[in-house]
Symmetry: C2
Subunit: 204 residues, 2 copies
DNA sequence: TTTTTTTAATAAACACGTTTACTCAGAAAA
DNA sequence: TTTTCTGAGTAAACGTGTTTATTAAAAAAA
Protein backbone atom coordinates (compact mmCIF):
# COMPACT_ATOMS: atom_id res chain seq x y z
CA UNK A 1 0.00 0.00 0.00
CA UNK A 2 1.57 3.25 -1.19
CA UNK A 3 1.42 6.54 0.63
CA UNK A 4 -1.03 7.83 -1.94
CA UNK A 5 -3.41 4.92 -1.41
CA UNK A 6 -3.21 5.44 2.33
CA UNK A 7 -4.24 9.03 2.09
CA UNK A 8 -7.04 8.11 -0.27
CA UNK A 9 -8.49 5.69 2.25
CA UNK A 10 -8.06 8.30 4.95
CA UNK A 11 -9.95 10.89 2.91
CA UNK A 12 -12.71 8.43 2.24
CA UNK A 13 -13.03 7.73 5.94
CA UNK A 14 -13.07 11.45 6.72
CA UNK A 15 -15.97 11.94 4.33
CA UNK A 16 -17.82 8.92 5.62
CA UNK A 17 -17.61 9.99 9.25
CA UNK A 18 -18.75 13.51 8.43
CA UNK A 19 -21.59 12.18 6.30
CA UNK A 20 -22.78 9.77 8.95
CA UNK A 21 -23.09 12.38 11.66
CA UNK A 22 -24.57 15.05 9.42
CA UNK A 23 -27.07 12.78 7.71
CA UNK A 24 -28.16 11.45 11.06
CA UNK A 25 -28.59 14.86 12.66
CA UNK A 26 -30.00 16.98 9.86
CA UNK A 27 -31.59 14.38 7.61
CA UNK A 28 -30.41 13.45 4.13
CA UNK A 29 -32.57 16.01 2.32
CA UNK A 30 -31.68 18.88 4.61
CA UNK A 31 -27.94 18.39 4.40
CA UNK A 32 -25.98 19.22 1.31
CA UNK A 33 -22.82 17.75 -0.13
CA UNK A 34 -21.27 21.16 0.46
CA UNK A 35 -22.14 20.89 4.16
CA UNK A 36 -20.53 17.50 4.42
CA UNK A 37 -17.51 18.67 2.45
CA UNK A 38 -16.92 21.51 4.91
CA UNK A 39 -17.31 19.16 7.88
CA UNK A 40 -14.90 16.67 6.33
CA UNK A 41 -12.45 19.35 5.27
CA UNK A 42 -12.49 18.45 1.58
CA UNK A 43 -14.02 19.93 -1.54
CA UNK A 44 -17.48 18.89 -2.74
CA UNK A 45 -15.95 17.44 -5.89
CA UNK A 46 -13.80 15.13 -3.82
CA UNK A 47 -16.90 13.58 -2.33
CA UNK A 48 -18.19 12.76 -5.78
CA UNK A 49 -14.82 11.31 -6.74
CA UNK A 50 -15.10 8.90 -3.81
CA UNK A 51 -18.82 8.12 -3.88
CA UNK A 52 -20.23 8.79 -7.36
CA UNK A 53 -23.31 10.55 -6.01
CA UNK A 54 -25.16 11.60 -2.90
CA UNK A 55 -27.26 8.45 -2.77
CA UNK A 56 -24.18 6.24 -2.92
CA UNK A 57 -22.74 8.22 -0.02
CA UNK A 58 -25.95 7.73 1.93
CA UNK A 59 -25.86 4.00 1.24
CA UNK A 60 -22.24 3.79 2.31
CA UNK A 61 -23.06 5.75 5.47
CA UNK A 62 -25.84 3.43 6.55
CA UNK A 63 -25.42 -0.03 5.17
CA UNK A 64 -22.98 -1.32 7.77
CA UNK A 65 -25.31 -0.56 10.66
CA UNK A 66 -28.21 -2.16 8.85
CA UNK A 67 -26.12 -5.25 8.29
CA UNK A 68 -25.23 -5.35 11.97
CA UNK A 69 -28.84 -4.93 13.04
CA UNK A 70 -29.84 -7.80 10.80
CA UNK A 71 -27.10 -10.05 12.15
CA UNK A 72 -28.07 -9.22 15.69
CA UNK A 73 -31.70 -10.06 14.96
CA UNK A 74 -30.61 -13.26 13.30
CA UNK A 75 -28.54 -14.25 16.31
CA UNK A 76 -31.55 -13.97 18.60
CA UNK A 77 -34.04 -15.83 16.42
CA UNK A 78 -36.45 -18.02 18.41
CA UNK A 79 -35.76 -21.00 16.22
CA UNK A 80 -37.78 -23.35 18.41
CA UNK A 81 -40.98 -21.37 18.02
CA UNK A 82 -41.67 -21.99 14.38
CA UNK A 83 -41.57 -20.02 11.13
CA UNK A 84 -44.16 -17.42 12.06
CA UNK A 85 -42.43 -16.50 15.30
CA UNK A 86 -39.02 -16.41 13.65
CA UNK A 87 -40.11 -14.14 10.82
CA UNK A 88 -42.06 -11.81 13.11
CA UNK A 89 -38.99 -11.59 15.31
CA UNK A 90 -36.80 -10.57 12.38
CA UNK A 91 -39.29 -8.00 11.15
CA UNK A 92 -39.94 -6.62 14.59
CA UNK A 93 -36.20 -6.22 15.19
CA UNK A 94 -35.68 -4.38 11.94
CA UNK A 95 -38.69 -2.14 12.57
CA UNK A 96 -37.20 -1.14 15.92
CA UNK A 97 -33.91 -0.48 14.22
CA UNK A 98 -35.38 1.76 11.54
CA UNK A 99 -37.51 3.51 14.14
CA UNK A 100 -34.40 5.26 15.50
CA UNK A 101 -34.48 7.54 12.46
CA UNK A 102 -37.48 6.87 10.26
CA UNK A 103 -37.01 9.91 8.09
CA UNK A 104 -33.46 8.97 7.18
CA UNK A 105 -34.22 5.38 6.29
CA UNK A 106 -37.29 6.44 4.37
CA UNK A 107 -35.09 8.54 2.14
CA UNK A 108 -32.56 5.75 1.81
CA UNK A 109 -35.25 3.39 0.56
CA UNK A 110 -36.86 6.01 -1.64
CA UNK A 111 -33.60 6.80 -3.40
CA UNK A 112 -32.48 3.20 -3.63
CA UNK A 113 -35.40 0.98 -4.23
CA UNK A 114 -36.77 2.10 -7.55
CA UNK A 115 -33.50 2.54 -9.35
CA UNK A 116 -33.24 0.43 -12.52
CA UNK A 117 -30.74 -2.36 -13.08
CA UNK A 118 -29.39 -1.63 -9.60
CA UNK A 119 -27.49 1.50 -10.47
CA UNK A 120 -26.64 2.01 -6.80
CA UNK A 121 -26.01 -1.60 -5.99
CA UNK A 122 -25.06 -1.67 -2.29
CA UNK A 123 -28.52 -1.70 -0.83
CA UNK A 124 -30.18 -3.90 -3.42
CA UNK A 125 -27.32 -6.38 -3.27
CA UNK A 126 -27.87 -6.66 0.45
CA UNK A 127 -31.57 -7.22 0.01
CA UNK A 128 -31.02 -10.02 -2.47
CA UNK A 129 -28.63 -11.64 -0.05
CA UNK A 130 -31.19 -11.54 2.75
CA UNK A 131 -33.84 -12.84 0.41
CA UNK A 132 -31.63 -15.82 -0.29
CA UNK A 133 -31.38 -16.46 3.44
CA UNK A 134 -35.13 -16.41 3.87
CA UNK A 135 -35.55 -18.80 0.95
CA UNK A 136 -33.15 -21.21 2.61
CA UNK A 137 -35.07 -20.99 5.85
CA UNK A 138 -38.29 -21.82 4.05
CA UNK A 139 -36.58 -24.70 2.31
CA UNK A 140 -35.52 -26.02 5.72
CA UNK A 141 -39.11 -25.76 6.94
CA UNK A 142 -40.10 -27.91 4.01
CA UNK A 143 -37.79 -30.68 5.08
CA UNK A 144 -39.23 -30.35 8.58
CA UNK A 145 -42.61 -30.83 6.97
CA UNK A 146 -44.16 -27.60 8.20
CA UNK A 147 -44.21 -25.97 4.78
CA UNK A 148 -45.90 -27.55 1.80
CA UNK A 149 -43.45 -29.12 -0.63
CA UNK A 150 -45.17 -27.63 -3.65
CA UNK A 151 -44.70 -24.09 -2.36
CA UNK A 152 -41.92 -22.53 -4.45
CA UNK A 153 -39.57 -21.20 -1.78
CA UNK A 154 -37.89 -18.40 -3.71
CA UNK A 155 -41.31 -16.97 -4.54
CA UNK A 156 -42.44 -17.51 -0.97
CA UNK A 157 -39.36 -15.55 0.14
CA UNK A 158 -40.23 -12.79 -2.32
CA UNK A 159 -43.74 -12.67 -0.94
CA UNK A 160 -42.44 -12.40 2.57
CA UNK A 161 -40.17 -9.60 1.50
CA UNK A 162 -42.93 -7.73 -0.33
CA UNK A 163 -45.15 -7.91 2.75
CA UNK A 164 -42.28 -6.79 4.94
CA UNK A 165 -41.29 -3.86 2.75
CA UNK A 166 -44.96 -2.91 2.43
CA UNK A 167 -45.54 -2.60 6.15
CA UNK A 168 -42.12 -1.00 6.57
CA UNK A 169 -43.21 1.63 4.07
CA UNK A 170 -46.30 2.31 6.17
CA UNK A 171 -44.09 2.67 9.22
CA UNK A 172 -41.62 5.04 7.58
CA UNK A 173 -44.28 7.20 5.99
CA UNK A 174 -46.69 7.49 8.90
CA UNK A 175 -45.28 9.03 12.09
CA UNK A 176 -48.48 8.08 13.92
CA UNK A 177 -47.89 4.37 13.39
CA UNK A 178 -46.00 2.82 16.30
CA UNK A 179 -43.49 0.01 15.92
CA UNK A 180 -45.77 -2.17 18.00
CA UNK A 181 -48.76 -1.47 15.79
CA UNK A 182 -46.73 -2.07 12.63
CA UNK A 183 -45.36 -5.32 14.00
CA UNK A 184 -48.87 -6.42 14.93
CA UNK A 185 -50.07 -5.56 11.45
CA UNK A 186 -47.26 -7.58 9.95
CA UNK A 187 -47.92 -10.50 12.26
CA UNK A 188 -51.52 -10.78 11.10
CA UNK A 189 -50.56 -10.36 7.46
CA UNK A 190 -47.90 -13.04 7.77
CA UNK A 191 -50.34 -15.37 9.48
CA UNK A 192 -52.78 -14.87 6.62
CA UNK A 193 -49.98 -15.60 4.21
CA UNK A 194 -48.85 -18.75 5.95
CA UNK A 195 -52.26 -20.28 6.56
CA UNK A 196 -54.14 -18.78 3.63
CA UNK A 197 -57.28 -16.73 3.80
CA UNK A 198 -59.52 -19.07 1.87
CA UNK A 199 -61.92 -21.47 3.51
CA UNK A 200 -60.71 -25.05 3.21
CA UNK A 201 -61.58 -26.68 -0.07
CA UNK A 202 -62.01 -23.37 -1.85
CA UNK A 203 -58.44 -23.33 -3.23
CA UNK A 204 -58.03 -22.30 -6.81
CA UNK B 1 -66.28 32.20 -14.25
CA UNK B 2 -64.30 35.35 -14.90
CA UNK B 3 -62.09 35.94 -17.89
CA UNK B 4 -59.05 35.60 -15.63
CA UNK B 5 -60.14 32.21 -14.34
CA UNK B 6 -60.77 31.07 -17.90
CA UNK B 7 -57.29 31.93 -19.02
CA UNK B 8 -55.86 30.31 -15.93
CA UNK B 9 -57.55 27.03 -16.79
CA UNK B 10 -56.39 27.42 -20.36
CA UNK B 11 -52.79 27.92 -19.26
CA UNK B 12 -53.00 24.91 -17.00
CA UNK B 13 -54.26 22.82 -19.87
CA UNK B 14 -51.50 24.11 -22.14
CA UNK B 15 -48.90 23.01 -19.61
CA UNK B 16 -50.53 19.66 -19.05
CA UNK B 17 -50.67 18.80 -22.74
CA UNK B 18 -47.05 19.80 -23.26
CA UNK B 19 -45.98 17.85 -20.18
CA UNK B 20 -47.83 14.72 -21.23
CA UNK B 21 -46.26 14.51 -24.65
CA UNK B 22 -42.76 15.47 -23.49
CA UNK B 23 -42.73 13.18 -20.47
CA UNK B 24 -43.94 10.33 -22.60
CA UNK B 25 -41.39 10.85 -25.34
CA UNK B 26 -38.26 11.85 -23.46
CA UNK B 27 -38.90 10.36 -20.03
CA UNK B 28 -39.47 12.31 -16.85
CA UNK B 29 -35.81 12.50 -15.85
CA UNK B 30 -34.57 13.53 -19.28
CA UNK B 31 -37.02 16.37 -19.74
CA UNK B 32 -36.75 19.58 -17.80
CA UNK B 33 -39.36 22.03 -16.60
CA UNK B 34 -37.72 24.53 -18.92
CA UNK B 35 -38.28 22.17 -21.86
CA UNK B 36 -41.94 21.83 -21.01
CA UNK B 37 -42.27 25.57 -20.46
CA UNK B 38 -40.96 26.28 -23.96
CA UNK B 39 -43.28 23.69 -25.48
CA UNK B 40 -46.24 25.12 -23.59
CA UNK B 41 -45.27 28.71 -24.36
CA UNK B 42 -45.07 29.82 -20.75
CA UNK B 43 -42.30 30.55 -18.28
CA UNK B 44 -40.86 27.85 -16.01
CA UNK B 45 -42.12 29.71 -12.97
CA UNK B 46 -45.67 29.55 -14.30
CA UNK B 47 -45.49 25.77 -14.24
CA UNK B 48 -44.59 25.82 -10.56
CA UNK B 49 -47.43 28.24 -9.87
CA UNK B 50 -49.84 25.74 -11.38
CA UNK B 51 -48.35 22.46 -10.17
CA UNK B 52 -46.21 23.11 -7.09
CA UNK B 53 -43.39 20.88 -8.28
CA UNK B 54 -42.26 18.57 -11.05
CA UNK B 55 -43.58 15.46 -9.37
CA UNK B 56 -47.04 16.99 -9.00
CA UNK B 57 -46.96 17.79 -12.70
CA UNK B 58 -45.99 14.22 -13.50
CA UNK B 59 -48.82 12.92 -11.34
CA UNK B 60 -51.30 15.25 -13.00
CA UNK B 61 -50.04 14.16 -16.43
CA UNK B 62 -50.53 10.47 -15.77
CA UNK B 63 -53.21 9.84 -13.20
CA UNK B 64 -56.19 10.12 -15.48
CA UNK B 65 -54.94 7.40 -17.82
CA UNK B 66 -54.14 5.14 -14.90
CA UNK B 67 -57.63 5.66 -13.58
CA UNK B 68 -59.06 4.77 -16.98
CA UNK B 69 -56.94 1.66 -17.29
CA UNK B 70 -58.11 0.51 -13.89
CA UNK B 71 -61.76 1.11 -14.75
CA UNK B 72 -61.38 -0.76 -17.99
CA UNK B 73 -59.81 -3.70 -16.17
CA UNK B 74 -62.57 -3.57 -13.61
CA UNK B 75 -65.25 -3.63 -16.32
CA UNK B 76 -63.84 -6.85 -17.77
CA UNK B 77 -63.39 -8.74 -14.50
CA UNK B 78 -64.21 -12.46 -14.77
CA UNK B 79 -66.46 -12.31 -11.75
CA UNK B 80 -67.67 -15.86 -12.22
CA UNK B 81 -64.21 -17.36 -11.99
CA UNK B 82 -63.48 -16.65 -8.35
CA UNK B 83 -61.21 -14.34 -6.37
CA UNK B 84 -57.90 -15.62 -7.69
CA UNK B 85 -58.89 -15.20 -11.33
CA UNK B 86 -60.37 -11.77 -10.70
CA UNK B 87 -57.32 -10.45 -8.92
CA UNK B 88 -54.90 -11.91 -11.45
CA UNK B 89 -56.97 -10.30 -14.17
CA UNK B 90 -56.73 -6.88 -12.53
CA UNK B 91 -53.00 -7.21 -11.96
CA UNK B 92 -52.34 -8.53 -15.43
CA UNK B 93 -54.28 -5.65 -16.96
CA UNK B 94 -52.37 -3.06 -14.99
CA UNK B 95 -49.04 -4.71 -15.82
CA UNK B 96 -49.86 -4.48 -19.52
CA UNK B 97 -50.81 -0.87 -19.05
CA UNK B 98 -47.58 0.08 -17.30
CA UNK B 99 -45.61 -1.92 -19.85
CA UNK B 100 -46.30 0.77 -22.46
CA UNK B 101 -43.75 2.97 -20.74
CA UNK B 102 -42.07 1.23 -17.85
CA UNK B 103 -39.43 3.87 -17.34
CA UNK B 104 -41.98 6.63 -16.94
CA UNK B 105 -44.18 4.80 -14.48
CA UNK B 106 -41.15 3.63 -12.53
CA UNK B 107 -40.23 7.25 -11.95
CA UNK B 108 -43.79 8.14 -11.07
CA UNK B 109 -43.84 5.49 -8.37
CA UNK B 110 -40.34 6.29 -7.19
CA UNK B 111 -41.15 9.97 -6.70
CA UNK B 112 -44.58 9.36 -5.24
CA UNK B 113 -44.55 6.29 -3.10
CA UNK B 114 -42.13 7.11 -0.34
CA UNK B 115 -43.22 10.67 0.30
CA UNK B 116 -44.32 11.24 3.91
CA UNK B 117 -47.82 12.22 4.97
CA UNK B 118 -48.81 12.18 1.32
CA UNK B 119 -47.22 15.42 0.34
CA UNK B 120 -48.13 14.80 -3.27
CA UNK B 121 -51.52 13.33 -2.60
CA UNK B 122 -52.96 12.51 -6.03
CA UNK B 123 -51.36 9.14 -6.53
CA UNK B 124 -51.57 7.93 -2.94
CA UNK B 125 -55.20 9.03 -2.69
CA UNK B 126 -55.97 6.92 -5.72
CA UNK B 127 -54.20 3.90 -4.25
CA UNK B 128 -56.17 4.15 -1.02
CA UNK B 129 -59.36 4.31 -3.03
CA UNK B 130 -58.49 1.16 -4.95
CA UNK B 131 -57.45 -0.56 -1.73
CA UNK B 132 -60.91 0.16 -0.37
CA UNK B 133 -62.42 -1.48 -3.44
CA UNK B 134 -60.35 -4.62 -2.97
CA UNK B 135 -61.32 -4.78 0.69
CA UNK B 136 -64.98 -4.64 -0.30
CA UNK B 137 -64.47 -7.43 -2.82
CA UNK B 138 -62.89 -9.59 -0.14
CA UNK B 139 -65.73 -8.78 2.21
CA UNK B 140 -68.17 -9.98 -0.47
CA UNK B 141 -66.21 -13.20 -0.84
CA UNK B 142 -66.66 -13.70 2.88
CA UNK B 143 -70.42 -13.55 2.58
CA UNK B 144 -70.17 -16.01 -0.31
CA UNK B 145 -68.26 -18.25 2.08
CA UNK B 146 -65.10 -18.55 -0.02
CA UNK B 147 -63.00 -16.44 2.32
CA UNK B 148 -62.61 -17.19 6.00
CA UNK B 149 -64.67 -14.94 8.22
CA UNK B 150 -61.83 -14.36 10.64
CA UNK B 151 -59.56 -12.97 7.90
CA UNK B 152 -59.43 -9.21 8.42
CA UNK B 153 -60.32 -7.88 5.00
CA UNK B 154 -58.59 -4.50 5.13
CA UNK B 155 -55.35 -6.22 6.03
CA UNK B 156 -55.96 -8.84 3.38
CA UNK B 157 -56.41 -6.00 0.89
CA UNK B 158 -53.16 -4.43 2.08
CA UNK B 159 -51.39 -7.75 1.62
CA UNK B 160 -52.71 -8.07 -1.87
CA UNK B 161 -51.54 -4.58 -2.62
CA UNK B 162 -48.08 -5.17 -1.17
CA UNK B 163 -47.67 -8.28 -3.28
CA UNK B 164 -48.91 -6.43 -6.34
CA UNK B 165 -46.63 -3.43 -5.88
CA UNK B 166 -43.74 -5.76 -5.15
CA UNK B 167 -44.04 -7.65 -8.42
CA UNK B 168 -44.80 -4.40 -10.23
CA UNK B 169 -41.52 -3.07 -8.89
CA UNK B 170 -39.72 -6.08 -10.32
CA UNK B 171 -41.39 -5.45 -13.66
CA UNK B 172 -40.54 -1.74 -13.77
CA UNK B 173 -36.94 -2.23 -12.68
CA UNK B 174 -36.05 -5.21 -14.80
CA UNK B 175 -36.36 -4.75 -18.58
CA UNK B 176 -35.72 -8.46 -19.06
CA UNK B 177 -38.85 -9.45 -17.17
CA UNK B 178 -41.84 -9.86 -19.50
CA UNK B 179 -45.38 -8.96 -18.57
CA UNK B 180 -46.30 -12.61 -18.96
CA UNK B 181 -43.55 -13.75 -16.62
CA UNK B 182 -44.43 -11.09 -14.06
CA UNK B 183 -48.08 -12.02 -14.21
CA UNK B 184 -47.18 -15.67 -13.75
CA UNK B 185 -45.03 -14.78 -10.79
CA UNK B 186 -47.87 -12.82 -9.27
CA UNK B 187 -50.34 -15.60 -9.92
CA UNK B 188 -48.26 -18.10 -7.95
CA UNK B 189 -47.64 -15.63 -5.16
CA UNK B 190 -51.33 -14.84 -4.91
CA UNK B 191 -52.18 -18.52 -4.88
CA UNK B 192 -49.76 -19.02 -2.02
CA UNK B 193 -51.36 -16.14 -0.22
CA UNK B 194 -54.91 -17.38 -0.70
CA UNK B 195 -54.33 -21.01 0.19
CA UNK B 196 -51.39 -20.60 2.57
CA UNK B 197 -48.03 -22.22 2.27
CA UNK B 198 -48.18 -24.21 5.46
CA UNK B 199 -49.10 -27.88 5.58
CA UNK B 200 -52.55 -28.38 7.04
CA UNK B 201 -52.58 -28.40 10.81
CA UNK B 202 -49.30 -26.53 11.05
CA UNK B 203 -50.98 -23.10 11.41
CA UNK B 204 -49.70 -20.85 14.15
C1' DT C 1 -65.49 56.74 -14.04
C1' DT C 2 -61.67 56.59 -10.98
C1' DT C 3 -59.23 54.26 -7.48
C1' DT C 4 -57.86 50.29 -5.06
C1' DT C 5 -57.10 45.49 -4.63
C1' DT C 6 -56.13 41.02 -6.31
C1' DT C 7 -53.55 37.72 -8.74
C1' DA C 8 -51.71 35.24 -13.07
C1' DA C 9 -47.49 35.48 -15.04
C1' DT C 10 -42.76 36.22 -15.24
C1' DA C 11 -37.58 37.43 -15.06
C1' DA C 12 -34.01 36.94 -12.32
C1' DA C 13 -31.87 34.80 -8.75
C1' DC C 14 -30.87 30.94 -5.78
C1' DA C 15 -29.65 26.17 -4.11
C1' DC C 16 -27.56 22.17 -4.79
C1' DG C 17 -26.04 17.85 -7.24
C1' DT C 18 -22.83 17.02 -10.56
C1' DT C 19 -19.25 17.74 -14.45
C1' DT C 20 -15.11 19.63 -16.40
C1' DA C 21 -10.59 21.15 -16.81
C1' DC C 22 -6.64 21.59 -14.36
C1' DT C 23 -2.84 21.08 -10.76
C1' DC C 24 0.63 19.14 -8.45
C1' DA C 25 2.54 15.61 -5.38
C1' DG C 26 3.96 11.07 -5.52
C1' DA C 27 5.06 6.72 -8.19
C1' DA C 28 7.30 4.66 -12.08
C1' DA C 29 10.60 4.74 -15.78
C1' DA C 30 14.91 6.03 -17.77
C1' DT D 1 19.12 11.57 -10.24
C1' DT D 2 16.22 13.25 -13.69
C1' DT D 3 12.23 12.73 -16.34
C1' DT D 4 7.78 11.10 -17.31
C1' DC D 5 3.45 9.48 -15.98
C1' DT D 6 -0.50 8.87 -12.91
C1' DG D 7 -4.26 10.03 -10.33
C1' DA D 8 -6.14 12.33 -5.85
C1' DG D 9 -7.93 16.58 -5.11
C1' DT D 10 -10.00 20.86 -6.45
C1' DA D 11 -11.99 25.48 -8.26
C1' DA D 12 -15.04 26.95 -11.26
C1' DA D 13 -18.81 26.21 -13.99
C1' DC D 14 -23.11 23.99 -15.37
C1' DG D 15 -27.96 22.12 -15.30
C1' DT D 16 -32.10 22.12 -13.30
C1' DG D 17 -35.81 22.43 -9.68
C1' DT D 18 -37.59 26.06 -7.04
C1' DT D 19 -38.11 30.79 -4.75
C1' DT D 20 -38.50 35.74 -4.80
C1' DA D 21 -39.65 40.24 -6.16
C1' DT D 22 -42.13 42.59 -9.61
C1' DT D 23 -45.49 43.75 -13.11
C1' DA D 24 -49.53 44.55 -15.35
C1' DA D 25 -54.08 43.47 -16.30
C1' DA D 26 -58.44 42.14 -14.56
C1' DA D 27 -61.81 42.56 -10.81
C1' DA D 28 -63.81 44.96 -7.01
C1' DA D 29 -64.73 49.10 -4.51
C1' DA D 30 -65.64 53.92 -4.23
Amino acid sequence: MSRRDDSKIETRELILVAAQSMFWEKGADRCTIRDIAVEAGVSPATIIVHFKNKTALLEASLHEDIEKAFSKAQATMPVEDGLHAVLVHMVSSMFSFYDRNRELYRILIRDTFYEPDHENPTMMKMLEEKLQLIAIMIEQEKSKGTVRNDAESSLAASSFFFLYIGVLGDLLRDPELSVTAATGRFSVILDQHLTGILTLGAGS
